[in-house]
């Protein structure tokens, strides 16, 4: 079995094991549903204070490192990256092993435009960086998306390395010394983006994630999401049903790349210093691990996976140099006991069907199926 087939085996067969939460929230009346969602989002914005909460604090706190630092520098970035990679890998079923390349393109574009070669403000750099990442996705995708499975995986793997090595060798890109003094996000009212307080960066990152989720949900439930799913399930059949498979695969690549680049701009704006060693191959693998661990093809799974993969090594700092080993063991255990990921992909629930049925039978409102 080829690598990508093994991988598809992992992503297929959606389980119903913990189908509970999301479905039940969806079944609630509108008012309680939205108040629950609002409450949940509010609690996320309070995340920097989580370690002060009894019990929860003990679980999430990261002894030895600043919890605030972990959630801003790592969790937010990984979650965003996992969301983007999930579009490519989870929805469209394209195995991308070089995703770190887009992340690097986003970060470097901000670096070049705000420090190395120009002095543009961070906010101006972000849309440009996202556009450049997207274009790099199209440039990579146009020749390579004619390949399938393992071949695509290998070419994308090469792409990630090409970006890193090019950055390392091009003096124009700062060479191995990298780029420093990158612009930071502008202060917004009481939110001062300084060096000491990480919270503003966290709030910014979380807001970006929520906006991305909003748009991704729209895509998923549209013709575009259906086309991606169809391509993942059976590319030939999809094309014979009138899906322009190449176009939609390219869109998946471009949108994934744009989100990866966006994560790169946040990273560059926070650390304000980047060099090629920030973008190693391992990071691509770790990003993929986040998506697979969380649940390939499920947006909430990708988010959880990104958060866990970012946070866990820090949580285990107490194990000193064995922390990566502990992290690895946990990953293996999750894959053994939940091979479909923490929150597996689900069969779409067609809520409107109940309405359709009642309108057909002419007995509006007679129970649900």
């Amino acid at each position: 079995m080829s690598l990508s087939e093994t991988f598809k085996g992992l992503t297929s067969k959606p389980a119903h094991a913990i189908s509970g939460v999301g479905e039940r929230i969806g079944d609630l009346p509108k008012v309680s549903r939205w108040s629950l969602i609002a409450l949940f989002i509010a609690s996320l914005y309070l995340m920097p204070w989580w370690p002060k909460v009894p019990i929860l604090g003990w679980v999430v706190d990261t002894p030895g490192t600043s919890f605030e630092g972990v959630i801003t520098d790592k969790v937010v970035i990984y979650v965003l990256v996992a969301l983007g990679l999930n579009v490519v890998v989870g929805l469209a079923g394209l195995l991308d092993l070089g995703y770190v390349g887009f992340y690097a393109v986003g970060a470097y574009t901000v670096g070049i435009l705000s420090s190395q070669h120009a002095n543009l403000p961070w906010l101006v750099c972000v849309p440009i960086a996202v556009a450049v990442s997207m274009i790099s996705g199209v440039i990579l995708g146009t020749p390579t998306l004619r390949l399938r499975g393992d071949y695509l995986a290998i070419v994308t793997l090469g792409f990630g390395e090409i970006i890193r090595i090019s950055a390392n060798n091009a003096e124009w890109l700062g060479g191995s010394r990298g780029i420093s003094k990158i612009a930071k996000p502008p202060n917004i009212g009481p939110l001062k983006f300084g060096i000491l307080d990480a919270k503003p960066y966290f709030f910014l990152g979380l807001t970006v994630i929520i906006v991305v989720i909003f748009f991704l949900r729209r895509l998923e439930s549209s013709r575009v999401g259906r086309a991606w799913n169809a391509v993942r399930e059976d590319e030939d059949a999809a094309e014979l049903m009138g899906v322009n498979t190449f176009k939609f695969k390219l869109w998946a690549f471009a949108i994934g790349a744009a989100i990866g680049g966006l994560a790169g701009t946040l990273y560059a704006g926070k650390v304000r210093f980047i060099n090629p060693s920030n973008f190693p191959l391992q990071l691509s693998i770790l990003f993929l691990a986040a998506v697979v661990l969380g649940g390939t093809g499920n947006m909430w799974g990708a988010i959880l996976g990104g958060a866990v993969v970012a946070w866990m090594p820090e949580r285990f700092r107490g194990f000193a140099d064995k922390r990566v080993f502990v992290f690895g063991v946990v990953l293996v255990l999750v894959m053994v006991f939940r091979p479909q990921g923490l929150i597996p992909r689900k069969i779409r629930k067609e809520r409107w069907l109940a309405n359709w049925r009642s309108s057909q039978s002419g007995e509006a409102g007679v129970g649900r199926d």
């Binding site: 748009f215 014979l240 049903m241």
Partner: protein, 258 residues
């Protein structure tokens, strides 16, 4: 045969040294149900694959609705109006039945990423149209009761019919069915025959590959017979049934006739 919808002209398809189709020519008239039969390996499915763009013909031409199909991509051929089902079912297993059909219906839709992101009016209209069309087709095929189930969880007969619904959703002029009755019980075959007649009554033209002779003879207007990649007979079911070449292709040539 004055008004032909599809005409296949001197079609040859070679795979390396193997000739799967050799100078095959036939026409399908608008509104007709044409049967394509032949022993195993005769080239029926290859013929389907060439028509729907899966393979590029070695030589010969296919004209559909007055225009040549050469050089078109598969999805473009589908959008021109040729839809098909598969001999071995190829649904999107983890998508619901209604989603499967909506993928087909999307062939007529224009919304893309932009429209979906901003939630444009056309996007909403097309989503609604897609749903309505899908449910209409599932009802027509008699499988609307399982519309919300994953295709993989449907019974076999439902899956076969779901494939037809999905193909019809692309709004084809020509519907190509590749052994739609494979694995069916006689009662189910009877139902399928009714269904194919109903589909034709709706104005579709049907090209049918089928092994089951009673079904082919009962439902088709005309039959094209292939054997070893060559066209050996065309005509009404009755004519084909009595054609000596067809009989020998299916039953072998008696020794004394040789």
């Amino acid at each position: 045969m004055t008004d032909s919808l599809l005409s296949v002209d001197n079609l040859t398809m070679q795979f390396g040294g193997v000739t799967a189709l050799s100078e095959v020519s036939f026409d399908i008239a608008r509104g007709e149900i044409l049967g394509l039969i032949g022993p195993n390996g005769a080239g029926k499915t290859t013929c389907f694959n060439v028509i729907t763009g899966v393979y590029t013909a070695t030589s010969g031409a296919i004209t559909f609705d007055g225009q040549p199909l050469a050089g078109l991509k598969r999805y473009q051929i589908t959008k021109r109006g040729i839809a098909r089902t598969f001999q071995n079912i190829r649904l999107f297993p983890d998508m619901t039945a209604v989603e499967n059909v909506m993928v087909g219906a999307d062939a007529n839709h224009k919304t893309s990423v932009g429209g979906a992101l901003i939630g444009s009016r056309r996007h909403h209209r097309e989503e609604r149209e897609g749903r309505d069309r899908a449910m209409e087709l599932l009802t027509f095929m008699g499988i609307a009761d399982r519309a919300g189930d994953a295709a993989r969880n449907l019974p076999y007969g439902y899956q076969r019919r779901l494939e037809i619904a999905r193909a019809l959703a692309t709004n084809p002029k020509l519907l190509c069915l590749d052994e739609p009755a494979a694995g069916f019980t006689p009662a189910e075959k009877q139902e399928l025959m009714e269904l194919i007649r109903k589909i034709r009554a709706q104005g579709y033209t049907v090209l049918l590959i089928e092994h089951d002779m009673s079904l082919v003879m009962g439902v088709t207007d005309r039959i094209v017979v292939l054997d070893f990649g060559k066209l050996i007979a065309t005509g009404s079911p009755a004519e084909v049934q009595n054609n000596p070449d067809v009989i020998s292709a299916y039953l072998g040539v008696p020794d004394d006739a040789a």
